[in-house]
Point group: C2
Chain length 82, copies 2
Amino acid sequence: MQVVVNISLKEGVLDPQGRAIEHSLRGLGFQEVSEVRVGKQITLDIDESDPARLRQRVARMCETLLSNTVIEDYVIDIVEQE
Amino acid sequence: MQVVVNISLKEGVLDPQGRAIEHSLRGLGFQEVSEVRVGKQITLDIDESDPARLRQRVARMCETLLSNTVIEDYVIDIVEQE
């Protein structure tokens, strides 16, 4: 099964990368931009057919390696196979 | 309006970061993992109410700054306001 994990900075955590992008976009004439936040999107193929167990394992992966749970939140989406 | 832009490497482009994560996850005992791909998710607040113009402007931002269109694809999602 394919899983998409979106990892984003927690509310209130400073996002210097987002600030830099916002500043650059405004400098390029995109004045209508504000509040830029940058996160990671990780796509994984997992050899597990049970959705509940799959979600549990991916949560473990997030807690163990993929995200820094002190400053980041993660959202797990299981991609329905056609 | 809030917009989410997902930027990912094009099919066939080597993803060393994804490979490193896959290798680490397997080393941590998550043998069921394969095909790890890492992308960026950028969230922006845009002062533009017309969805068509909004999409056009964000596409320009992607082409100009946010993505490297030689090796990356981007997908623009407009977040419906409650």
